[in-house]
Symmetry: C2
Amino acid sequence: MQKNPGPNKTQAFLDICHQHQLKITPQREVIYRELLKSDTHPTADTIYQIVKGKYPNISYDTVNRTLLTFAEIGVVDVIEIFGGAKRFDPNIKNHHHLHCIQCGKIIDFQSRAYDNLKVPKGLRAKFRVISKRVVLRGICKACLA
Amino acid sequence: MQKNPGPNKTQAFLDICHQHQLKITPQREVIYRELLKSDTHPTADTIYQIVKGKYPNISYDTVNRTLLTFAEIGVVDVIEIFGGAKRFDPNIKNHHHLHCIQCGKIIDFQSRAYDNLKVPKGLRAKFRVISKRVVLRGICKACLA
DNA sequence: TTCCTAAATAATAATCAATCTTATTTGTCA
DNA sequence: TGACAAATAAGATTGATTATTATTTAGGAA
């Protein structure tokens, strides 16, 4: 029972690439596909290691650049983790983070309430808010045990 | 009219060092003093450049290690900025961030409402929350102009 | 279909932040 | 004061990311 990206997501990806005048290359396709299959916020290097199994000639730079390009056109999200490499997340729905300060793990969660947080009145004149994210730092279940 | 750290803050700093059995070295004192004077969330390198003016022999490693030590004993806060070096913040009161995605600036703000955010019910069993931070990403006033 | 061109890639070098190693120096306490 | 553990300086090392450049290729035009 493997998670299946489904043709819909893949098609949407191709459409967005076209919208942005990005060429569809085998590298981009395989990178996107592998990222979709993942559920652990992989780093560029993790994706690189996986993809290299199928395309031994691919370079790390291509993987990293491609993932950043994906972030620019909005098909993936980039997560910055304290003290570590960037992580890429195919889940682009607005979400928030649990950050375990023991093991460093980042866990996504959804919260309608957090999505709808009110921006403090005093700020509205000084800053145009585009997105909101709540980061809860603490200890995850595994580390508590 | 320069911002003055004041003897109280300095004394509190010395006390906390003693509590943690940290030796009081000239390097630690000057690094702490310069960080207190700053209001721009400097990086380790920024502090290094400033301190080097007074102690030409100080090494980057010492500045960086010292700042991390300060973070461990809770006298400074560490901020992770998307795609950049760690930044250090002498303001350890709970606070939140505006992150301008244009110029990269981080602006602190206080919000009682955000401090008191409710943790979603479903999470409480899975995660022990220690601190909460809201990051509002958008465009700052200067960049809007 | 074939050709052309701009875009993308691979390979490598360079950069930047952060950490480690080791010899030396220095706070702190007895 | 003297001893010793802690801290520092200097330089090397690691790891992630970005830049450079020559080569290849996707995709539109003829």
